[in-house]
Symmetry: D2
Subunit: 337 residues, 4 copies
């Protein structure tokens, strides 16, 4: 950590800063320049991060050198993490597509979707049991019943179940049915929920918060990892910007950035990012080209009747066509679908 | 709701849209222009919001006319809501300042702060028992013990307790000790938590989500109100923007916007918004001038030793000076402190 | 255009609105709902846009139905515009890559780059003569001399010249040397400059403003087109967001959005968007997969000596590798490089 | 400047960095930590900023210590700059309000406004002669004629003229008529225009770019100052964010931030920031409370007939009421109106 002193700091100010650093077991390295005196704190700067050095007299600013996360960093573990999940893997050459309806609306519609997409090589079925809806008057999901329907469809088709956990009180229930537990964008910094899934032995799909920096997102992953669960899949799903043509702005550059910073697999959800079915195929292809390890795509048999997210759901026919197109892109970047 | 048809829609497309509207008990009003045909849905458009009309064939876009929230809207209740809280009120002529440390670190420091600020006319003491920290390695709060310290200080000083609830499992516990329950910025769309506090008979201080639009914020208030608890205080605390000189960008125009849209009281937290103690006084004064009903300000006896948010905490001396200055501004806009 | 009246408007308010609409030659269509009265203005709403209807008594809000641009809209011209430029085309099956240094630093370095990239199938050479630099103390470009170097390299290699115009006073000079005139991100709303290039018979490469919505960007294109020059290439180059890992956030969803809204070709500049050479290849591939018609890529023989934008410039070797990879992606989406 | 080396850099990499620093006349100070080696460049780091050190082999990142601007910094000149302008001052105890119509539409309306606001103590009359309009089909201003009308009204009323310069070719003309030359938000990084006004002996009112950081804004001021003109007034006018209730988000915290960083006076334009007349008074008061040295407010005799910005223009009556209210707020913060 670099501590920049104000031009008018006193010798006592400097001494206090040095003492504080040394008291924490780090070494202080002073460098007096023409315009500024700088103190370098040498050692594990993470202990220093907890100390409000900026509040000390004579300190102008503090500049961390190291990333605030550790377990999830590429520096800590250089090889890619491959998530194993009941016979399937996420993070290796094969791109996994997780598809299905936004919400499980009935057993019939879930089966209809599953049967339509299973033959296309889709191994993971998504479906919401508990739905975080902006309006209290909107459909909130079928809850436990939806989980049971998903388990039933798993038996029938062999597809694994990906579903969202919203409330720590449902953790045991959801963990019983899900193969991968999703943490939604609005809960990326619900630290209690992160701690909860950190203690469950199931892979976690961690969506990026709508206005989370990549650093904050990795800190949320660190929360989970710090509890012992390192099976984390990061999912870019668009960030909030001033542009209104799309629901959010899909930040595809997050994919190569994350590949540098972390060993965890990265997937992309184009459906929630753009919010418009006509843009989903282009962005799904771009995600693969950018290096994503997988996709999360909403499919509904009759979008115009969907109880949530209709405007961004592909029909099974549209989805089949997209899977065909994705194959070529995957191959072009040395992957397979 | 206005439904704009595509230029090339078929008569069947139009008929299907009309039928859908009428099936929901609304009336359809068609208006054929030179470039577009438009369908107005007349009646309570909230039922229509749940239907993915945009997914219907021949529909270009859908434009809602009414706000998606109801109970919290000024249209539903025109006079200002004044929150009564054990003898004090929020939302009338008197501006309430809620002050105290970010986190309760010990009983001694809490008492020290309380005794320093109580004589300045501060009726509400803030203090975190459960802290949402970005890093799993940071101080997470003293939990139940902090609540007990706060209750003790309430007895000693008469100050009311404002503290954050992070987890629905702590709702009963926090409700037992708090006079006002705070929902933090990261939980503004934790819908389960909102439902929980909607069922508690205590006022709720609802902070704006870091990237929440004013509309989404009011929808979160509506969640609480829809459960029966209409004692909601909105708290602007800065939004996320590209500017990095301040931690967030304090959106003071939200104050007069909210005064138009809702009957709920609005307060401002300049400390979290700017994240720098040197900017807090200016923004506190500006908040009052903009029409805020109160302030939330962090005060710590020794910011350079704070376990969280040191750089944005005022010392009691700085706070006393600010209170003096605020009096003049409050008077200038016809309020009192 | 839809005009929503306030709940408490008077009959005179409504009459004044109707009269205003009819005075402009449009028809007013009134629709009285349970909660609101709505006036639809039927006819060419563009004339209405210039009138501050929102300022009229009794008006709550105004909602336009049509896009504010015309000539550049897909509705006005449904088939794709293909820009012809001295024997090369932009906007058809072949993806054009425009490459070269940020600034022309000397004749030698320009020739060095050109000779390295020409054999890779690059037909357009970019190079800055006038450089918009954030600091007045930075290298501002070689000006006219740079233009002459570029013209010389065009003669030697057959590559066409793409260079930026910053000042209307340089329009004649730049037009004399350039094959495509670039309008930079900071000048996207320099309306005088837009008017100037609208009157030149050379294709214009219009970069998106750093915080421009897609709608504003198309309005800037409309400025150029309204002067008679419809040879406009749109270039997405990243927008400003809160994320700091990348210089800007590349908004690739703008590509399919634009393909819907306009007939103009769309290219992508990954170099400026990400600002880091290690991310350029991934984003270049993603851009092609998203449907871009071309790329703008910075190449410098020795980035560590570049006078501007070194950190985002590929070496010719890195660029050659990327061109190889791009070929596969282009083919995968039915294009060629 | 601090240069952080990658964990795997070679001794040659480090030597090359050191040599580069020393070649520029600076001293290199090496500090080897447990996780990283750091090089501090001691001396005037501004020369280093022009060198792409990040592109050198073995370099992880570069962290500047000093601000990139100099002449406009508080460090360079500690006392406040007070702009003298034909007998009036901006930047001292007295708050100056610059008011008038968005665009000069006719001589009559300009006189009407001037005569209404002059008796309220307004010394500066704003009015657009050249208007930067998003649409090429909108009213673009009366040009030279508007300037003449403004000069005439100056003679009649003694009010000073503030008007925008959009094009370097109009610099001589505008300088002839204006007392203060405004550079609009869309031209904040029109570096040629900045250079032009840097060479004129008239105060410049520099509006913040819609998506400009405070640092970039000060760099634009530095452009002007570097040409010799240090009479610069900074004007905050709202930044672009995701919030759509207001046209832009007024960043009032920029006022105290700037007061720290620069000696230049800072004023606020609430009209353009919010874009809605009902919010202007609250934000004008907040601006004064936050420490602004002045205000820029749009006033139009009949906003519902305005040729531009009607919805955000106050009537003279509304403006008179606001001036009354502002007096109290100014006094409350030790200023006068």
């Amino acid at each position: 950590m670099i501590i920049v002193m104000t031009p008018d700091h006193s010798p006592e100010d400097l001494n206090r800063v040095i003492r504080r650093i040394e008291d924490l077991g780090l070494k202080a390295h002073i460098s007096k320049g023409e315009h500024r005196t700088i103190v370098g704190a040498i050692g594990d700067e993470r202990v220093l991060r907890e100390i409000p050095i900026e509040s000390m007299s004579g300190v102008e600013k503090v500049m961390p050198i190291m990333s605030p996360y550790k377990l999830v960093s590429r520096e800590f573990k250089s090889e890619d993490t491959i998530i194993k999940c009941n016979g399937y893997s996420i993070g290796n050459k094969k791109i996994q597509v997780i598809a299905g309806p936004c919400a499980v609306e009935s057993r019939e519609m879930l089966e209809e979707v599953a049967k339509a997409i299973r033959p296309l090589g889709v191994n993971f079925l998504r479906g919401g049991a508990f739905k975080p809806r902006t309006s209290p008057y909107s459909f909130q999901g079928l809850g436990k019943q939806a989980l049971e329907y998903m388990a039933r469809v798993r038996e029938e088709t062999g597809m694994l179940v990906v579903t969202e956990l919203m409330d720590p009180r449902d953790a045991v229930l959801v963990a019983k049915y899900a193969d991968i537990i999703q943490i939604g964008t609005r809960n990326m910094q619900n630290f209690r929920l992160l701690t909860e899934v950190g203690n469950i032995e199931k892979p976690v799909l961690l969506k990026r918060g709508m206005s989370a920096t990549i650093k904050e997102w990795l800190m949320s992953a660190e929360y989970i990892a710090s509890q012992g669960n390192e099976n984390i899949i990061l999912c870019e799903r668009g960030i909030r910007t001033f542009e209104t043509e799309t629901r959010n702005t899909l930040d595809l550059s997050a994919v190569p950035v994350l590949k540098r910073l972390t060993h965890l697999p990265v997937i992309v959800d184009p459906s929630h990012a753009v919010g418009r079915v006509d843009l989903v195929p282009a962005m799904a292809k771009a995600a693969i080209a950018a290096g994503a390890d997988g996709l999360l795509i909403e499919v509904h048999p009759r979008p115009e009747e969907a109880l949530s997210d209709g405007p961004q759901s592909l029909t099974p026919q549209q989805f089949a066509k997209l899977m065909e197109e994705l194959k070529w892109v995957a191959e072009a970047v040395g992957r397979e679908l």
